[in-house]
């Protein structure tokens, strides 16, 4: 009798990139729903625009590189990039702004470096930074979070769609009427205006511990993140590293000067900290690869986020922190090689 011949091992692999990416997308659903609840339907339009352009960029680049676009699309990584970009953008963002970020992320940061697995930089963050540099004015318009107690104008579904498509508000609305500063912006400008933390935190948009709306997006992002940890899609090293890197200096500074430094909970829930810790920094391709290396990588991102928020020109520093640490990855990987069993301390064969 004849048999087919394969190479050992003969047990089918248990993991799958496409399934990992799908689960990352599932894990973002709760946070996305809360985003829509607090900041309106703009998030969905951004997600659709980002997805369309990420997929288009992927297809075009795979065609140009002479490869099968279906193969690249079937791993869902372009959609993860689109989702992360959508989370990073204000819910009111004109389509061409989103498209610019999506295309830059996919075409330049991903495919010009060789596609999935070879990109040095996190594509979503590279795309976001390009928007930050090219269209800073659009990133300042965050609609006010849904809250009953302050006076603001709420944009309807169609009005939001209109802004996404044209970049202009309906005649009845003005930017000032619909938008509010983000908690991080408010903190930064408040501190610049010599107010104390207590005064700033008393603003209604500061919410209970890290900004109205933002804190709940953060909570549900964390739920998704813990689900990924349980499913072993991500490991604990990077989220814990980001936490340590950000919260340790935040706590120290808060204890030293509670009047001029917001506390650790504000840093944790304000801005994109939790999204970064569980979803952005954990992008395996652009992160360090050994467990020790990942802890260091995470800590580096955390420290940079704190430094940029505290002393930098930008309100939040997630994108720059991630991209800067992406650059440090080869060095981290080289310096954190684990001890190979049977080798001596110098890593040499005895």
């Amino acid at each position: 009798m004849k048999f087919v011949r394969h190479e050992a091992p003969y047990v089918a692999p248990v993991a799958d990139v496409a399934s990992m990416m799908r689960q990352v997308l599932f894990a973002l659903v709760p946070a996305g729903l809360v985003h829509v609840w607090y900041f309106g339907p703009g998030f969905i339009f951004n997600l659709i625009v980002a997805s369309i352009f990420c997929i288009a960029g992927e297809v075009i680049m795979m065609r140009i590189r002479g490869r099968s676009p279906a193969k690249a699309l079937s791993d869902y990584s372009a959609l993860v990039t689109a989702a992360l970009l959508a989370f990073a953008l204000p819910s009111l963002t004109p389509w061409w702004v989103t498209a610019t970020g999506a295309l830059f992320g996919i075409v330049v940061a991903k495919h010009l470096y060789g596609g999935l697995g070879f990109n040095v930089f996190n594509p979503a963050m590279a795309g976001y930074v390009v928007i930050l540099v090219a269209f800073p004015m659009y990133l300042n318009v965050w609609v006010a979070p849904r809250m009953g107690d302050i006076d603001y104008q709420y944009l309807s579904f169609l009005q939001t769609l209109g802004y996404t498509l044209t970049g202009t508000l309906p005649d009845s609305a003005t930017i000032d009427a619909i938008s509010r500063a983000t908690p991080l912006d408010a903190m930064k400008s408040g501190l610049n205006n010599m107010r104390t933390i207590a005064e700033i935190r008393a603003l209604p948009l500061m919410g209970d511990f890290g900004g109205r709306g933002w804190e709940w997006i953060g909570n549900l992002t964390a739920v998704g993140g813990f689900w990924l940890l349980i499913r072993k899609i991500i490991r604990w090293h990077i989220p814990v590293g980001v936490g340590i890197g950000l919260l340790l200096p935040a706590t120290i500074m808060y204890l030293v000067g509670p009047d001029s430094n917001p506390g650790p909970t504000f840093h944790l829930f304000g801005g994109a900290t939790i999204l970064c810790a569980f979803f952005i920094a954990t992008d395996p391709v652009s992160a360090a690869t050994s467990p020790k290396g990942r802890l260091i990588y995470g800590i580096g991102i955390g420290i940079l986020i704190y430094a940029i928020r505290r002393w930098g020109a930008y309100a939040d520093g997630v994108a720059f922190a991630v991209l800067l640490m992406n650059m440090a990855v080869p060095a981290i990987d080289y310096l954190t090689r684990p001890h190979i069993v049977g080798h001596d301390e110098q890593g040499q064969q005895p």
């Binding site: 050992a8 091992p9 003969y10 069993v341």
Partner: protein, 506 residues
């Protein structure tokens, strides 16, 4: 009796795999009858193939030596039953994935007539250790855990080291395989007897019998026999069920918390590891004078009708054995000699069972996991690697053929356990790639060695030519000096003689 102990070292990574063992352990070991034809490869072990010492047409007896050790490393081969040698020819073998290698083919007469034995074998503890070692050499015994290293030579090497422990490996961590489990259940006395022989031969006074936690019956039986033996040198050790804790170096690390040096041996840190099956084979040879002509093998998988453990003569073909266990099922499309993680995929059931065959796994084809895509550096491979390598980095360097980095990242330390393949979400056949890269590294090393030899030869030649030239010049100078010292008359004499010589030649 001493209770099993858990004070263990740590093993990095590893996997908990579906065991698939109960399907073959439900029945006792069954003896496969002597087949009509036996096929005995002369290269069943690590080292040089044995040299046949029988001719075609010769009648051989069960247990008769038919091929002897040839070269520095090897093991003899014995006839597994009586009959006539009909040919010595290339035959498909498992070692070469079903490609042919030289085999001695015996047509059995069914009488199973044994060679004459010495009346009573001397008790092992009356023999001096070196005589015992010499005796083991003639039993054709090799490591039965799958590595098939000639046992006698392994023991000889061990005598040059300071040994603290004998470790009897009853871990058998690979899925499907259960031959050691049932052997320990049914032949615990022989296994422990083998351990006592080994301890005597090597003057070791501590033996750990290491068994995985998923083998309670074997453990129970071993403990019973140990209570009867009342030998306090024997200690049972229980290890958790994690693949690949049964690898030799991994076992040492688990039990002693010491790392076997890279490119070294367990004996370097005072441990000698022997498979439980090997110990039983040593007992059979020393106590009952039966050389290694049969072994317990697991025949299993959804491709066979009745999975079970059988004791079969070495040289029985897979086809004959499968026939014995009720034939194939409709799922039989893959034949693996060994386990599902490290076994050898073979294309035909004409291959014979050999000393290495701990398992014949016949199953449906492994479902395709989908296409291989680029590595996303998730690092799961590094998390499961028992040697703490970074397979994702090794893969990168293997693609780039970067020999220096491959070495410094420990490619040669890879034990090819296959764990990284299983967890890779990109479905990269890492183990196969590493096997290839290792081959290339070996080739490069050979090439380098050849180049060094060639350069040495070239330099030696140049030196020789130079030396000859110098000698000639010195000789010429000496002659000149001589002539000058003799004066003009002598020179004229020499010239005249030269002239004369020339004319004579013309």
């Amino acid at each position: 009796m001493s209770a099993p102990t858990y004070d263990l070292g740590k093993l990095h990574g590893g996997l908990r795999l579906d065991a698939h063992k109960s399907q073959s352990t439900a029945r006792p070991i069954m003896d496969v009858p002597v087949p009509g034809q036996l096929v005995l490869p002369i290269g069943q072990h690590v080292g040089d193939p044995a040299q046949p010492i029988v001719g075609i047409g010769e009648y051989v007896l069960k247990g008769q030596l038919i091929a002897e050790v040839h070269g520095t490393l090897g093991a003899p081969v014995h006839a597994s039953s009586s009959g006539k040698v009909v040919s010595i020819e290339p035959w498909p073998v498992a070692r070469r994935f079903g490609e042919p290698a030289p085999c001695i083919v015996i047509e059995c007469d069914g009488k199973d007539r044994p060679v004459e034995l010495a009346e009573i074998a001397p008790a092992f503890d009356e023999l001096p250790p070196d005589v015992l070692l010499q005796k083991i050499l003639h039993g054709g015994i090799v490591g039965l855990g799958g590595a098939v290293f000639p046992t006698a030579q392994k023991l000889m090497q061990a005598t040059t080291c300071d040994l603290d422990y004998l470790l009897l490996n009853g871990v058998e961590c690979e899925p499907y395989i259960s031959c050691d489990d049932v052997l320990m259940r049914e032949r615990a006395a022989e296994v422990l007897g083998g351990a006592q022989i080994l301890m005597h031969a090597l003057s070791i006074d501590r033996c750990y019998i290491v068994v995985e936690s998923d083998k309670p019956e074997a453990l129970h039986r071993l403990a019973e026999v140990m209570a009867e033996l009342d030998d306090e040198r024997l200690v049972l050790k229980l290890v958790p069920t994690i693949y690949p804790s049964g690898g030799e170096d991994q076992l040492v690390q688990l039990v002693t918390n010491l790392e076997v040096p890279s490119a070294g041996l367990p004996t370097d840190i005072g441990c000698l590891v022997q498979n439980v099956g090997t110990a039983a084979a040593i007992y059979d040879w020393i106590h009952d004078q039966e050389p290694l002509i049969s072994r317990v093998t697991t025949i299993t998988g959804n491709g066979v009708a009745a999975p079970m453990n059988v004791r079969a003569r070495i040289g029985t073909t897979v086809a004959d054995v499968v026939n014995f266990v009720g034939g194939y099922t409709e799922h039989a499309s893959q034949l693996i000699m060994g386990g599902p993680m490290t076994g050898k995929s073979v294309n035909t059931d004409r291959v014979p069972l050999v000393k290495a065959t701990n398992c014949v796994l016949i199953m449906s084809e492994t479902p395709s996991p989908g296409p291989e895509i680029a590595c996303i550096r998730c690092g799961e491979c590094a998390a499961v690697c028992p040697v703490q390598l970074l397979p994702q980095q090794l893969f990168w360097y293997a693609c780039a053929d970067d020999e220096k980095s491959l070495r410094s990242y420990g490619l040669t330390d890879c034990i090819e356990c296959g764990c990284c393949d299983l967890v890779c979400p990109s479905h990269i056949p890492l183990t196969a790639d590493f096997r290839k890269a290792k081959g290339r590294i070996r080739e490069l090393a050979d090439e380098k060695a050849r180049a060094v030899r060639a350069r040495q030869r070239f330099e030696a030649r140049n030196e020789r030519l130079e030396r000859d030239k110098r000698q000639r010049e010195q000789e010429l100078a000496r002659q000149k000096k001589h002539a000058k010292a003799a004066g003009p008359a002598a020179i004229a004499e020499i010239l005249k003689r030269k002239q004369q010589q020339k004319e004579d030649e013309d």
